[in-house]
Amino acid sequence: MVAAPGAVGNTGDITGARPADGTGLGGRPSRSPDALLTVTGLTKHFPVTRGIIVRRRVGAVQAVDGIGFSVATGETLGLVGESGCGKTTTGRLLTRLLEPTGGTITFDGRDITHLSMGRMRPLRRDIQMIFQDPYSSLNPRHTVGGIVGAPFRLQHVKTDRGIKRSVQELLELVGLNPEHYNRYPHEFSGGQRQRIGIARTLALRPRLIVADEPVSALDVSIQAQVINLLEDLQGELGLTYVVIAHDLSVVRHICDRVAVMYLGKLVELAGRDQLYGLPRHPYTVALLSAVPVPEPARRRERMRIRLTGDVPSPLNPPPACRFHTRCWKAQEVCRTEEPPLAELAPGHQVACHFPENTPGP
């Protein structure tokens, strides 16, 4: 397993009072040579406007609010959380499908936060995305050959033996029949369509792949096939993954490090075994205890932590610690002071005033 360079002073925490421009306590980016991707103080607010002729801004959906982490080459980082936590928005920020409101994104040492479309285009060979829904992420009017070959054409890449040959090699790589070059997406099953999407993503041999819920739309038996495929490809092609998912079992299987998000903030960041073995943030503890395990005999002895209520709206998140409204340990300080993302153990960062599983002072 790869060491976690992100633990070196890269906290990216910002209290609500600070300007959303990326500066903040401990916000210097990690200078670790292994980090392919570094994110500091990343923020995205979606303005909410009112009015027809003159649109006034009345608020903002604070989808992502000052998060920071880094990903080393060849590593897989998992980003987990529930609806409204901002993980999908983070994925789109990393691939620059959205422009950050604040913070920085550094890819291979280069600041890509506010690059123009033209400047970003050559980088799109290196940063690619796998989308969640295999039914809506492929153009139904294009053949498979057209879909997987599009990156070559768009990036004006010359191939040795022609685009068609390259596409057929890609189809073989993901376990599809190269003779299906001229078929349309609707002739394939969900799992096969996801493989087509993966083939398209791999076309230009990217270095970083952001996978947004890559298997959640698939049946259980097909999920395993696609998970194995992603793992094999990582080994074969030296890929780096950021996997966004809500299924904690899948994340545990494929990720080296895991970041837990809640309402736009990063609440815990740790190596996989540390997070699943010794979770420290109360939200992570509740999340892990809520996952149903396929073991009937254990259900009688399970102590599940029941979180009350639903996730608050990101339009109006709770002040200070955003989790305090649902936390069973919340005290006065949680309502007034936002806990910084602090390193409690090597490689294990937690944003909580009263973390779990921590030996007392």
Binding site: I222, L248, E295, L307
Partner: protein, 359 residues
Amino acid sequence: MAADTADPAAEPPLRTDPGAASALLVVRDLRIHFPTDDGLVKAVDGLSFTLERGRTLGIVGESGSGKSVTSLGILGLHQGASARVSGEIWLDGEELVTADPARVRQLRGNKMAMIFQDPLSSLHPYYTVGNQIIEAYRVHNKVTRQAARRHAIDMLDRVGIPQPAARVDDYPHQFSGGMRQRVMIAMALSCDPGLLIADEPTTALDVTVQAQILDLISDLQTEFGSAVIIITHDLGVVAELSDDILVMYAGKAAEYGSAEDVFDQPGHPYTWGLLASMPRLDRDRDERLLPIKGTPPSLINVPAGCAFHPRCGYTDLTGGRSATQVPELREIAPGHLAACHLTADQQRTIWAEQIKAKP
């Protein structure tokens, strides 16, 4: 021996079946076929199971297994020329497939109710949740509007909606996903049905909300004494909630038994495949998942013999019968049935030596 009658208010003569006296729901050889331009889709093809009062049955299967079609069939929602339903469904001693649709409508919502997968699309957006619960209650009970409204508020309170007297006049879009699902549960339980069918009740929900809803269903089942059928593809959910499990594949039952039996000693290669292909939080992390090769079959061209045989790794042990003979659902241990040509001994050996004992 039809149960139709000109006067819907009169109790129609019931077909009775002595064997079904104790069980709340008995399904025998249910077949639901849909004729389409491409051919006959055999969504459910010979399904049989029973459900006792107060117990929970989990129906597990992937897309195309026929589990949702089964539940809609029990409720009698496949009306008209679009479906061919045959077989027997006995609810509390009354047969439903041959019953008059008016009679089934009386039972629907009253004696049997359903919770659907996506509450946002299952609740009517134009009516308040109170009105939707009141409507369901008043169709089956002669009560005043005020009494029905009190009942609706009471139901919302029972399912854990805060400030029910105020929220009874809210519209579905004013609730979050978890709250909407609770509203659906309130609607389903408003007439105190003996049978509750939950079709993927938590698939659209976050995992912490899912935990709340599963706990709620379990608590309400104890409180109301209903029998519950929970339909899902999530083996974890099924393990949490079910007493018995029915594994479906290609419209037929592959395995049926208590939850302990099916998880500890599964007797069908498909169940082995499902259990082996899932990443699990409670086990050591495996280096590689073992997916079931191939894809679920077309329901128009179901494979001959055992529908699972193209994906099964043990067909060579059955002497070629997998490709020609449909396996019967037979007992491999007391109360534990599987539809497989492998003998019970072969199954136990394979499970113990090859699959369970992975390092």
